[in-house]
């Protein structure tokens, strides 16, 4: 009995220790990134390449996700709208649920899947093929050269993509509302404007920038800590997307609560 208790608590304890180590490592990395950013000397080539990679490659998936999110929101409320005839609710719903809640979460998840996983795979591959060690032997600091450009890029791109995503979500919602309910797009936009949509819009963008920070730090952390060859890279990508998803939900809650309290 005591042995069983011991085993259970041991496992739980070990789990928490591992979690603490990971979170600690991520925080330390975040600190090192910030320190490496003063003085702000970026490698121009590496930053440009990343801006292009991240921006261009995640553009289609963000657009498509946003269109679908807008559309699905309308489909979900179609039933009520049809029964009650309260077409004004559509715009309100899009503003509130898409701009402030579901939009940032889904776009954050997609971004972490596309860009975060990619970053972990890239850095992880560089670690197991000893390219990161090679950088160090060429007396180049991997944090400054590899991580800082990715951090800056993701922060910037996630914010921009969120703004873009909002626009496409409205488009998707308007298209679906027109096709399924015969509601004119102007009605939807009217509802949106009446519903203090700027508040929600800013909240969504703030969330998105925070997700950009967490995604970049977490995926770089898992990438730089890969061990054990090709198998290790795959495992690290897996762990990285899981951690990113968890972080997005936790951050979303924290920011949402802080926002309403303030």
């Amino acid at each position: 009995m005591i042995r069983a208790l011991d085993a259970t608590f041991g496992a739980v304890g070990r789990g928490y220790l591992a979690l603490a180590r990971t979170v600690g490592g991520i925080v330390v990395l975040f600190g090192r990134i910030l320190r490496a950013m003063v003085p702000p000397r970026f490698d121009r080539d590496e930053t440009w390449r990343n801006l292009y990679d991240v921006g261009v490659k995640s553009f289609p998936i963000v657009v498509v996700t946003a269109l679908f999110v807008g559309a699905i929101m309308v489909i979900q409320s179609a039933f009520y709208v049809k029964r009650t005839g309260a077409t004004g609710l559509l715009g309100y719903g899009v503003g509130f649920s898409v701009f402030a809640e579901i939009g940032p979460i889904l776009i954050g998840l997609m971004f972490s899947g596309r860009v975060g996983a990619n970053t972990t795979a890239q850095l992880g591959t560089m670690v197991v093929t000893e390219q990161v060690d090679a950088l160090r032997t060429l007396a180049i600091d991997p944090i400054r050269y590899l991580v800082v450009p990715r951090f800056v890029t993701m922060l910037l791109m996630m914010t921009l993509l969120m703004v873009l995503g909002d626009a496409f979500a409205v488009l998707g919602a308007a298209g679906t509302a027109d096709a399924m309910l015969g509601v004119d797009w102007r009605v939807l936009v009217q509802g949106l404007l009446e519903a203090h949509f700027l508040d929600e819009f800013f909240m969504g963008v703030v969330k998105a920038s925070c997700f950009g920070v967490s995604i970049s730090v977490i995926s770089c952390f898992y990438g730089l800590n890969v061990r054990g060859g090709a198998v290790g890279v795959g495992r690290a990508v897996n762990a990285s997307v899981v951690a990113n998803a968890a972080a997005i939900f936790v951050l979303d809650f924290v920011i949402g609560t802080l926002y309403t309290v303030m």
Partner: protein, 275 residues
């Protein structure tokens, strides 16, 4: 040895060429991807109906998909429940403080939409990338070729058990997700907004079709996630970079598949059954 190298850099494509390539590439890529997924789905179904998936392997995979995702689903869906109730209740409070319908609407929306879809997305992330990483590293370390040389069909041996395990476990996890999110939402509603638990726990709005819709979604995510992920893993090429790209591709493709399926199933059910 050296004489086969260029003397000058190759001419870069003209800007309009790169534009066409950039616009066209995603379509051809998605097309190719879909064709591969569907072919693999048929192969896996064939293997399942032949009874080729070993019982032990299926149980093992069900454990990997289900039990080992419990903590993750609890955390993410729990927070989703907290967030949604908090946000919606704050909104309602500003208009008129009548929370009587909040719980009922919340539970209905969870069952038909959020529990299966967010669970699906989370499983796509956790399990999808895991499957791609496992199978991808088996491909680049030539273990899949070794399986074939030993007369073990990789689809029977690797894909079919994962599909079966996931088809069973994703609906289970979705049901579990409804409970977790509802409990979290109810606790928050009670603590912050004084909503009585009996008022919150109302199944007034939940109709049969909602439950069917939620389950259909969960089952189809459960089927397609391992297929899409395994396809990404099996197409891995070359070294450690290959496994990384395969895993990345799996995350994107499986998440995307979930969003797409959600749209298609929700749309179809509205158009056909008006629910």
């Amino acid at each position: 040895m050296v004489n086969d190298v260029h003397v000058a850099p190759p001419a870069p494509p003209r800007w309009y060429e790169s534009l066409f390539i950039a616009v066209g590439a995603p379509f051809t890529a998605v097309g190719r991807e879909l064709r591969g997924d569907v072919a693999l789905a048929f192969a896996a179904l064939g293997a399942i109906f032949r009874g080729a998936a070993g019982r032990r392997a299926v149980v093992q995979q069900a454990y990997a998909v289900g039990n080992r995702s419990l903590f993750f689903i609890t955390a993410t869906l729990g927070f989703l429940g907290l967030i949604s109730v908090y946000q919606v209740a704050t909104q309602i409070q500003q208009i008129l403080p009548d929370f009587s319908m909040l719980g009922a609407a919340f539970i209905q929306l969870m069952i038909r939409e959020f529990a299966p879809t967010i669970t699906g997305l989370m499983i796509a992330t956790r399990v999808g990338s895991g499957i791609a990483a496992e199978i991808g590293s088996m491909v680049v370390t030539e273990q899949v070729d070794a399986l074939r040389m030993c007369n073990a069909d990789p689809v029977e041996y690797l894909v079919a058990p994962r599909v079966l395990g996931s088809v069973v476990m994703v609906p289970m996890l979705s049901i579990y997700a409804v409970l977790v999110a509802t409990l979290a939402g109810m606790a928050l509603g009670h603590a912050v907004f004084d909503i009585p638990t009996q008022t919150f726990l109302s199944l007034r709005l939940v109709k049969g079709p909602d439950i069917v819709l939620g389950l259909v979604k969960a089952v189809s995510y459960g089927f397609w996630i391992p297929i899409v992920a395994a396809h990404a893993g099996l197409s891995a090429t070359g070294g450690s970079a290959g496994v990384g790209w395969a895993t990345t591709r799996a995350v994107v493709a499986t998440s995307f598949a979930v969003v797409l399926l959600d749209f298609v199933i929700s749309g179809a059910s509205y158009v056909i059954f008006s629910v």
